[in-house]
C-alpha cells in the first residue's frame, strides 16, 4: 500500500471535463452498421417462394403465405415469407440460403408500434419504412455458396472419340456422385408443377440421396412408366425451374432418374408387378400407338383392372421416340428393359398392325374406350425449290431406319436443314457414319428448338453450323446436289416473339453435297380416321383438339401425345396418357 494509492483514484475526475462516450438517445441515434442484421426486406418479384427460408429458420419465425397479386406459376409457388418478429433471432440464415437472393436484412433495428399484430408481416408486401433501405446484411453467395452450388460433373466422352461410334456419350453417375448430387436438392418441390407428368421429384431425389434406389424406381412408376427413357432424353422442364439453378446449377434431375434405373438389370424384378391387380373390371380399352403416351395409358389402365390392347404398326413397342433417337443418346437395351415391365402388367400388344379406318371402326364396336396416341408420322415439306430431287430426303425417315446399322457415308458430304432435335440427331448420326456435315438453320443458334446440350455437343463434333441461312433452292449437279442460300439478318417481329430472319443481301451462297436431309418437323397423318368420325371431332391443323381429360368429343374416343397440340415431347405425351386414364375411368363409370 502506497500513499499514491489514496490519491490516484481521484484523478478519475479529470474525465468529467471530457466528452462523454454515451450516445444521448433518442436525440442522437446511431445507424446500424453497413452489414447490420435488422428487419427483413424481400424483392417479391425476384422471390420464387421456394420456402428455403422457412425450412432453415430454427425458430419457426417464417411462414410461407399466399399474398395478393402473386399468382402461382411454373417455377413460382406464389407464396412469400411472412416473418414473426416475436420469434426471429436475426441470425440471417434465411438470407444466406435464399435461393434467388431476394431476401435481405436492413440495418434498421428500431421500430415502435402500438399494434403488436403488425410485428408479424410479409416483407416486400406489407409496406414498411425501411423497404428502400440499401444498407444491411446482404447475401454473399460467392463467399459461402449456401444458396446455390455447382452440379456434380458427369463424365462425358470426348468429341474426338465419340464420333467414331454410336456408344453413349454420357457415361452416367457413380453411386457416390449420384448420392452427392441428389443431396443438393432443397426439397422445395417447384419442379413438380413444372413437370408435365408431375413426377414426385423431391421424393425420389431424397430416396437416391439416401441410397434407397428401389424406392426411387417405384416412385418413378407412380406417374411415369418410362423412367429410363426420360432419364436420358427428357426435355427436363423440372431443371429449368429448379431453385438451385438461380445462383448455382440446377439439380441433374434427368441424370439421376437415369442413374436409379441403371442400378438394376431388370426393372420388372424391382417392381414385381402382379399381372392383374385385384379383380378385372371386365372393361376393355384399345390403345392405338405404342409410343410414350399409349404405353402410359396402357400401363395405368391395366393397373386399374382394365383389359388393355395396344396396336402399333411397328414390330416393337416404344414409338418414334425410341426408334428415331440414335443409339448414342438412347441405347436399345434400355428400351427392352422397360418393355419387360409392360409385358408383366398383362397388357396385350398387337404389333405390325397398320392402323386403318376398318380397324378403328372395329375397335369402336369391340372396346369400351379407345385412346388414340398415334403421334406424327409425316415429315413436313421443306417448301424449297428442288426438294423433289431424290438426294433430298426426310431426316425423320432416315433416323427411323436404324442408320447405325445401315451403310457408311464415309467421304460423303451431307447437308441438314433444321434446328430441332431431329436435325441434331441426323447431323450427329451422319458424322458418326463418316460424313462431312453442314447444318443450315434460318434463325440464330439461340433460337434453335433443340436441347442446348444437343446443340453444344453437335458443335463439338465437327459439324459445320450455318445459322442465319435462308434456303433458296436445291439444284442438281453432275456429281450430286447444290444447296443455295441467302445469309440472313434478324429483324424484329412486329407480332412479338422471336426475331424474324430476312435476307441480308442478294448474294447467293452455295454448298455442294451428296445428300440433303430436311429436318423441319413432322405433321400428322389422320387419314386413317373415317370422315364420319373426323366430323364429330374438333380438328386444328391436322391435330385433334381434346379437353382436360384428353376426350375428343366423339363417343368413347380419347387422344393424346403428339396427335394433340402440345409441347411435342415425350414427357408431355406421358402426361397426356395419365390424364386420359383419368378421363377413361370417369367416362366408363
Amino acid at each position: 500500500m502506497k500513499f499514491t494509492d489514496v490519491i490516484s483514484p481521484f484523478l478519475a475526475w479529470s474525465r468529467a471535463a471530457k466528452k462523454v462516450d454515451t450516445i444521448p438517445y433518442p436525440n442522437q441515434q446511431n445507424p446500424g452498421a453497413d452489414r447490420y442484421r435488422g428487419f427483413h426486406i424481400n424483392d417479391t418479384s425476384k422471390c420464387i417462394g421456394c420456402g428455403r427460408c422457412e425450412v432453415i429458420c430454427e425458430n419457426k419465425a417464417i411462414d410461407m403465405v399466399k399474398v395478393d397479386g402473386v399468382e402461382p406459376t411454373k417455377g413460382d409457388s406464389g407464396l412469400r415469407p411472412k416473418v414473426d418478429y416475436g420469434r426471429c433471432c436475426w441470425c440471417a440464415l434465411c438470407i444466406d440460403v435464399c435461393s434467388t437472393g431476394s431476401l435481405s436484412l436492413t440495418n434498421k433495428y428500431s421500430w415502435v408500434t402500438e399494434n403488436p399484430d403488425t410485428c408479424v408481416y410479409t416483407p416486400g408486401v406489407d409496406q414498411k419504412a425501411w423497404d428502400s433501405e440499401e444498407k444491411g446484411f446482404r447475401q454473399e453467395n460467392d463467399v459461402l455458396g449456401w444458396a446455390g452450388s455447382p452440379r456434380e460433373q458427369m463424365e462425358i466422352e470426348t468429341p474426338e472419340k465419340r464420333i467414331e461410334n454410336f456408344d453413349e456419350v454420357v457415361k452416367g453417375y457413380t453411386v457416390d456422385q449420384a448420392m452427392e448430387e441428389a443431396a443438393r436438392c432443397i426439397q422445395c418441390g417447384l419442379c413438380i408443377s413444372a413437370c408435365p407428368a408431375h413426377m414426385h421429384i423431391p421424393d425420389y431425389l431424397k430416396a437416391i440421396a439416401e441410397g434407397r434406389f428401389v424406392d426411387a424406381v417405384k416412385l418413378f412408376y407412380d406417374n411415369n412408366p418410362l423412367p429410363e427413357m426420360c432419364g436420358k432424353v427428357c426435355t427436363r422442364e423440372c431443371e429449368t425451374v429448379c431453385a438451385m439453378g438461380y445462383q448455382g446449377e440446377s439439380i441433374a434431375i434427368r441424370w439421376l432418374k437415369r442413374f436409379a434405373c441403371e442400378q438394376f438389370e431388370s426393372l420388372a424384378d424391382v417392381l414385381a408387378l402382379e399381372a392383374q391387380p385385384g379383380e378385372p373390371n371386365g372393361k376393355k380399352v384399345a390403345v392405338v400407338g405404342a409410343g410414350p403416351s399409349g404405353l402410359s395409358a396402357a400401363y395405368y389402365l391395366s393397373r386399374k383392372g382394365y383389359e388393355v390392347h395396344v396396336y402399333d404398326r411397328l414390330e416393337k413397342g416404344g414409338g418414334v421416340s425410341w426408334y428415331a433417337i440414335p443409339e448414342y443418346r438412347l441405347p436399345a437395351d434400355g428400351i427392352t428393359k422397360q418393355m419387360e415391365v409392360f409385358e408383366q402388367t398383362g397388357v396385350i400388344f398387337n404389333y405390325g398392325r397398320d392402323i386403318t379406318a376398318e380397324l378403328l371402326a372395329d375397335m369402336e364396336n369391340r372396346f369400351d374406350a379407345v385412346y388414340l396416341a398415334v403421334g406424327l408420322q409425316k415429315p413436313s415439306d421443306a417448301r424449297i425449290k428442288g426438294e423433289d430431287i431424290p438426294e433430298v430426303k426426310p431426316a425423320f425417315d432416315f433416323l427411323m431406319n436404324s442408320p447405325d446399322k445401315g451403310e457408311m457415308l464415309t467421304g460423303k458430304k451431307v447437308i441438314v436443314i433444321g434446328g430441332g432435335n431431329v436435325a441434331m440427331d441426323t447431323a450427329r448420326t451422319c458424322v458418326r457414319l463418316g460424313a462431312d456435315v453442314v447444318l443450315s438453320y434460318r434463325r440464330r443458334v439461340q433460337d434453335m428448338p433443340a436441347d442446348d446440350e444437343e446443340i453444344h455437343e453437335a458443335m463439338e463434333e465437327t459439324i459445320d453450323f450455318r445459322p442465319k441461312t435462308i434456303p433458296i433452292r436445291i439444284e442438281r449437279t453432275e456429281s450430286g446436289i447444290r444447296y443455295l442460300y441467302h445469309e440472313a439478318k434478324m429483324v424484329d417481329n412486329p407480332k412479338g416473339g422471336r426475331p424474324l430472319p430476312k435476307p441480308k443481301d442478294d448474294v447467293e451462297h452455295a454448298v455442294d453435297a451428296d445428300i440433303l436431309f430436311s429436318a423441319i418437323g413432322q405433321t400428322s397423318d389422320i387419314e386413317f380416321i373415317p370422315e364420319s368420325m373426323q366430323k364429330e371431332m374438333k380438328l386444328k391443323w391436322g391435330r385433334i383438339i381434346v379437353n382436360d381429360n384428353q376426350y375428343t368429343g366423339y363417343k368413347n374416343f380419347f387422344a393424346g401425345g403428339d396427335i394433340t397440340p402440345g409441347e411435342g415431347d415425350a414427357i408431355t405425351a406421358i402426361a397426356d396418357g395419365l390424364r386420359a386414364v383419368k378421363g377413361i375411368i370417369d367416362r366408363l363409370k
Binding site: P9, S14, T22
Partner: protein, 374 residues
C-alpha cells in the same frame, strides 16, 4: 443427533443471495448461513436459467445450432461457435482456409479483449467503484462496434461457421480495429489508477478470496483463477488451435493467489490481447474465407465423436460432440470452467468470508451460470 454448528438455526442466519441481486454473475443464487457477518456455510443453486441448450441441439440441424450455441455465453459467444465448428470440421474433414483461421483468431481475441475489459472494471464494481465498472463497459462497447461492423450484430455474432467464417473483413476494417486499440490503450492508465492503484481496491482484494495453488489440481481449476495462483496452463499455448502457434506470446501468470492477483491477470490479458490482435492484423494472409458446405438441410455429419477445446476468458472451454451420421447432432455436451469454479470452489471459498465479499469473490471467479446448466 447433534446440530451442525454451521447451520444451527439458533446461532446462524439463513439467507439467499440472488438470483435477483446486482452482485451475482448471471442468474444463480447462493444459499448462505452466517454467524454475525461471517459465512459458515454456502450452497450454490442454479436452475433459474435452464433453457435446455444441449437437448435443443439434438432437435436441430447441424447449421441451425449456430444461432443457439452463441447464447450460452453472452459476453463471449464466439468460443461456443468455435468449439462447435471445430468439432464439426473434425468429424467431416472440412478444411478451413488459412485466412479464415486468422480471422477466427482475431474474432476470438477481440471477444476475450471485450470480456476482460468488462470483467476488470466489473471487479471494481463489486466493491462499489461504479465508475470503473462503467468505464470497462464503455471500452467493451468500442469493441462491440467492431463486431457490429464485422458480423452484423453486437452480441450474438453467429459468425464462425464450419469451414471458415461467414463474411470477409469489410474494407478498411483493420484501420478501425487499430483506432479502437489505440483509443483504449490511451485510456487504460486512467482505469489502472482507478482500480489497481486504489487503496480501497487493494484493501478489499489483497489476501481476500485466496485460491491455494494445491487446489488447482484438486478441483481442476483453469483460466485466470488458476493463473492467479501460479499456474501456467493456457490452451492457446498447450494445445494451440487456429493460428495461436504462429503468434508470439507468453502465458500470463501471477502468484498472489488472491482476488488482486486474478484482477492483475485480467489486466495483463488485456495487454496480451492487444498485442495478439496487432500480430494477427500484420500477418493476415489473403485468400478465401470459407469452404463451400454441402446442402445445409440435407447435411449429414459422419458418425463419430470429438472433444474440441479452446481457451475462453474463464479458462479451458470444451464441447463434446457426438454424431450418429444423421442430420442432427446425437449429443452435444458443453463443458465450461464455471462448473467447478462456481459450485465446489465457490462453496469452499465462501466459508469464513465476509458477506460483503461474496460478490467480490464470485466475480473474481467470473462464474457463468449458463455453462453450468446448459
Amino acid at each position: 443427533m447433534g446440530v451442525n454448528p454451521a447451520t444451527d438455526p439458533k446461532k446462524t442466519t439463513h439467507l439467499f443471495f440472488g438470483p435477483q441481486h446486482p452482485g451475482v454473475t448471471g442468474n444463480m443464487s447462493i444459499e448462505m448461513w452466517f454467524d454475525g457477518d461471517q459465512i459458515t456455510k454456502a450452497i450454490t443453486h442454479v436452475g433459474y436459467l435452464h433453457r435446455g441448450f444441449e437437448k435443443l441441439m439434438e432437435k436441430r440441424l447441424w447449421i441451425q445450432n449456430f444461432p443457439l450455441v452463441c447464447r450460452i455465453c453472452v459476453p463471449e459467444p464466439d468460443i461456443n461457435e468455435e468449439c462447435y465448428a471445430l468439432a464439426i470440421e473434425e468429424l467431416t474433414g472440412i478444411e478451413v482456409p488459412e485466412r479464415a483461421k486468422w480471422i477466427r483468431t482475431l474474432v476470438l481475441e477481440l471477444a476475450r479483449f471485450a470480456v476482460n475489459l468488462m470483467a476488470f472494471g466489473g471487479q471494481a464494481g463489486t466493491l462499489g467503484l461504479g465508475t470503473a465498472a462503467m468505464w470497462g463497459i464503455t471500452f467493451r462497447d468500442f469493441v462491440l462496434d467492431l463486431f457490429e461492423e464485422l458480423t452484423g450484430a453486437r452480441i450474438y455474432h453467429i459468425y464462425i461457421q464450419p469451414g471458415g467464417v461467414r463474411r470477409d473483413l469489410p474494407p478498411g476494417f483493420e484501420n478501425r480495429i487499430e483506432e479502437v486499440l489505440t483509443k483504449i490503450e490511451e485510456r487504460l492508465p486512467e482505469l489502472d489508477r482507478l482500480v489497481l492503484n486504489n487503496a480501497i481496491f487493494k484493501l478489499r482484494t489483497q489476501n481476500v478470496g485466496v485460491v491455494k495453488p494445491e487446489w488447482i489440481k484438486e478441483y481442476g481449476l483453469v483460466g485466470p483463477v488458476a493463473r492467479g495462483s501460479g499456474s501456467v496452463r493456457d490452451v492457446r499455448k498447450d494445445a494451440p488451435y487456429e493460428i495461436y502457434n504462429k503468434l508470439d506470446f507468453d502465458v500470463v501468470t501471477e502468484t498472489g493467489n488472491d482476488i488482486y492477483a486474478r484482477a492483475l491477470v485480467r489486466r495483463r490479458e488485456i495487454d496480451l490481447s492487444i498485442s495478439l490482435i496487432r500480430q494477427i492484423l500484420s500477418g493476415m494472409p489473403e485468400g478465401p474465407v470459407a469452404t463451400k458446405l454441402p446442402n445445409l438441410t440435407e447435411w449429414r455429419v459422419p458418425a463419430g465423436e470429438y472433444y474440441s477445446r479452446v481457451e475462453s476468458s474463464r479458462g479451458e472451454y470444451g464441447y463434446y460432440v457426438v454424431s450418429d451420421g444423421s442430420l442432427k447432432p446425437r449429443r452435444v455436451h458443453v463443458r465450461g470452467p464455471s462448473y467447478v469454479h462456481a459450485v465446489p470452489l465457490l462453496e469452499r471459498m465462501l466459508v469464513g468470508a465476509n458477506i460483503a465479499d461474496v460478490s467480490n469473490i464470485m466475480v473474481s471467479l467470473t462464474t457463468c451460470p449458463p455453462e453450468i446448466e446448459r
